[in-house]
Symmetry: C2
Subunit: 500 residues, 2 copies
């Protein structure tokens, strides 16, 4: 998930000054309400050394009622702690009803530093994923709100910060040999953090990854996330509890109370000017199509199942892209599965049911033209399923894809990205062209009107479901040639990687 | 858990005739209601070959609307199934909303026969526990009711049945070499079944273990469990959904609609006539106290934490028993922790918090005079916590104890059992004896009036939380001498076993 983090996110002083103070006041107010409602709150800060956890915690407690929180700095276990079960020292520190427990490092130590530094055997830290999930689940079931932050900076940024601290009279004492040692193991820690995020981001205790290059950005993002989570917990407590809806009726779309202050998404990182000239396009496409045919055959021989997901904006060119990708393949080896709104038996089952039904045999390729991600895209934006349900879906989808991965599948997920302006041009063109007019419907215009909502939904989807075993690729699709070659290439490379 | 199953449970024809027909009618009615409510129902039958799964399923479907159910017999995977992820064939078979899917064998194949017969590597079946839990959780979160039965018979009984079938003209074809091969591996299957029950009995998909020696008993038990579960699912759907109560108010105790038809519990298996003559008592006690002192020291040296739980009827003699057990020990090595109703900080935290706080250091012994089991005893019976909460607690407690086990702890859990008549005698005696009068309070009389409710609660507690790593021992406590020696001995043996 971490490779999707946009580390350049920042907030200038003017924007910061405008949002931060009201946010802090709101948080203070929420804390009082949470206190009165008797909801225990656990806030976990994990992340790189020097990423700014301390600053964030300082700002956080600067404004809330000191009787209502406690900060726990978790270092190496004491002798007393070593002699007890791992979770002992954390259970002891859980907040009482209405209190807030703020953890600077936490029970994740075991799967981060203790794992990387080989302080415990593999068997032990592997088992901890379950123990930790169970622990958090028990607290959540008991009504605890759990909010977890991973403060993320690049290796270079970490080095800069450590060096700067070393040169400071006031901070140099804080940089130890241990910090530098950990810095040199950045890659190993990154790997551990990735696995931690994948395995412990649950519906009841989700991680929020925060790009931590800019301190102002971090503060606002952390405060905002926490305030939103507290508000949700309060709503859930006071509103007539939402019944679990097995088949939610189509209702008015739920809109967020306010657009988040930070509107930059993972999509903004892609360079939409990328293009391929016709001749180059033909050469490249031909090359990758041939390669795909070889790989298709090798996957067949080696019994490797391949699953490709196409998602993207309306008119981004999914259909044409798929046609080019399969252009060179043997049709006996693949199938293209178009997905529209569920009807009949599909609607009468769990939403994953129809996708499980379409899982290819080992050795075959299934290309989904839209997919299970509808749950967190259209169903979320259009209010077709309860908020509970789509929030839970990120975890469910990660587990689903993990099962496919365990069964040996190659998973490739492509988001075809175009600009809003470009979409309009394409819609207009479709309307003008008789042979394409059928492609443009009222739904398309309605979706377009919700562009902003979709943008956020896409951001959440990509950041929360891009895993080591099933990463997302944002394909710049402003130029169709570029996008087609890119799609073919990403798929080919993933297949080749798996066969290696 | 399986060692707590009373395989002698049976129902005579008269009792059976009286309850079975109404139960079947009730089930048929419930099925219609569930259908109308759109609740998908999954019923899983696992258990020994020849334990009577087929008979049960036949009876079950004999009365319900054939449009509403489907029976899935799960054997070896087909070629098509082998080529897909393990869960594929089960996902395909999940029932639609309102339908009932009945599984004769199921996804548990992997952790039973495929495990024992080494059809898959250890890594794969170990991972399946998680995959299975996730699968069931997704269905449950989507509103599916999941009811799982393990039909249990002894090795001898299985042999008898296989032999009888072989001699029958109509059934001999059903007994294969494979069945006999599996029979010979009864021990290995038992071990696999134990681990399966421990790891996959979750609040959202609990196992019901059914003593299957007597067919009539099985039918009634299965029908009754299923009817109760369906009723609960319907209630949850129609009632204004119970909000998660972080701090439930003390309310009127929830009583079951009807006492279950089968009132025999695990407690009824103990032989309350057991006793020790004074002289023998003194010799034995002396012997075990000396042994415990040695073991205490060895555990200290080897840094083994020991946790002892005393539960039992009021006036069963817990206090006196504990005094004798620690009689020979070095007081620096143990502590006795008396538990009463939570107040103050204890009440303001998760119910497990105060027990975590009291976990002994490695090398030390903690003896709990009453314990976390209050959650599923007094809190359940007196309605001090929501039904949701105590039902969830079995799983939570098993996970809690698993954490202790992983940390190397010896876990000994004793239920001190006396008869109702004997309790009355002891109460009266306490009232007559000035020095003991303080021991008897109104609470004791109130609890006594709820004897039947407690009996069921104790049964559920023992059957659902007796695990391989933390088994329960029912100590016959009608004779205090017997009970004291027994308590000391069980503890000593568990410690010695761990040190071996």
């Amino acid at each position: 998930m971490l490779e999707t983090v946009d580390l350049d996110l920042e907030l200038d002083r003017a924007a910061y000054d405008k949002v931060f103070r009201p946010l802090r006041d709101r948080l203070a107010l929420l804390q009082r309400e949470v206190f009165e409602a008797g909801i225990p709150v656990v806030v976990v800060f994990e992340g790189w050394d020097a990423a700014g956890k301390g600053d964030c915690i300082e700002k956080l407690v600067g404004r809330i009622d000191p009787r209502g929180y406690e900060v726990h700095v978790i270092g190496s276990p004491t002798e007393d702690e070593v002699l007890r079960p791992y979770l002992w020292r954390f259970w002891r520190r859980i907040p009482a009803r209405g209190d807030m427990g703020i953890f600077d490092h936490s029970w994740y130590r075991r799967v981060l530093s203790e794992r990387v530094e080989s302080d415990v055997p593999r068997r032990v830290w592997q088992r901890s994923f379950d123990e930790i999930s169970q622990f958090e689940r028990m607290l959540a079931d008991d009504g605890t709100l759990i909010v977890k932050f991973w403060l993320h900076i690049s290796r270079a940024e970490q080095r800069r910060r450590l060096e700067r601290m070393e040169q400071s009279d006031y901070e140099s004492f804080r940089v130890t040999a241990r910090d530098w040692k950990a810095h040199r193991k950045y890659r190993k820690y990154l790997e551990a953090a990735e696995e931690m995020l994948e395995r412990t981001s649950t519906p009841w205790a989700a991680w929020t990854v925060v790009a931590a290059t800019d301190r102002r950005y971090v503060r606002v993002k952390v405060f905002e996330t926490l305030a939103e989570a507290m508000q949700r917990a309060l709503d859930a407590r006071s509103a007539p509890a939402a019944r679990r809806e097995a088949s939610p009726k189509k209702g008015p779309p739920r809109r967020r109370a306010a657009a988040p202050a930070l509107a930059r998404t993972v999509l903004d990182e892609s360079d939409l000017s990328k293009k391929l000239a016709p001749r180059e396009y033909e050469q490249e496409l031909d090359r990758w199509q041939k390669r795909l045919r070889e790989l298709e055959f090798q996957c067949y021989e080696r019994r490797v199942p391949v699953i490709v997901v196409y998602e993207g904006w309306d008119a981004a060119g999914k259909g044409g892209n798929i046609r080019r990708v399969i252009g060179g393949m043997d049709p006996r080896g693949y199938s293209v599965i178009p997905i529209s709104a569920p009807k009949g038996a599909d609607a009468a089952h769990h939403y994953l049911w129809r996708f499980w039904n379409s899982i290819p045999k080992a050795g075959h390729i299934a290309i989904f033209d839209r997919s299970w991600y509808g749950r967190v895209l259209v169903e979320r934006v259009e209010g077709l399923c309860a908020e509970d349900a789509w929030r839970r879906a990120y975890h469910e989808i990660n587990e689903f894809e993990r099962s496919l991965h365990h069964a040996g599948a190659v998973l490739v997920k492509l988001w075809l990205h175009i600009s809003k302006a470009s979409q309009l041009r394409r819609f207009r063109e479709r309307e003008r062209t008789a042979s394409k007019r059928y492609k443009i419907t009222e739904d398309d215009w309605r979706n377009r009107a919700r562009w902003e909502d979709y943008r956020l939904a896409v951001h959440d989807m990509i950041t929360q479901t891009s895993t080591s075993y099933a990463p997302w690729t944002v394909v710049e699709a402003e130029d169709k040639n570029w996008a087609r070659v890119r799609g073919a290439r990403v798929l080919a490379e993933a297949m080749a990687e798996r066969l290696r």
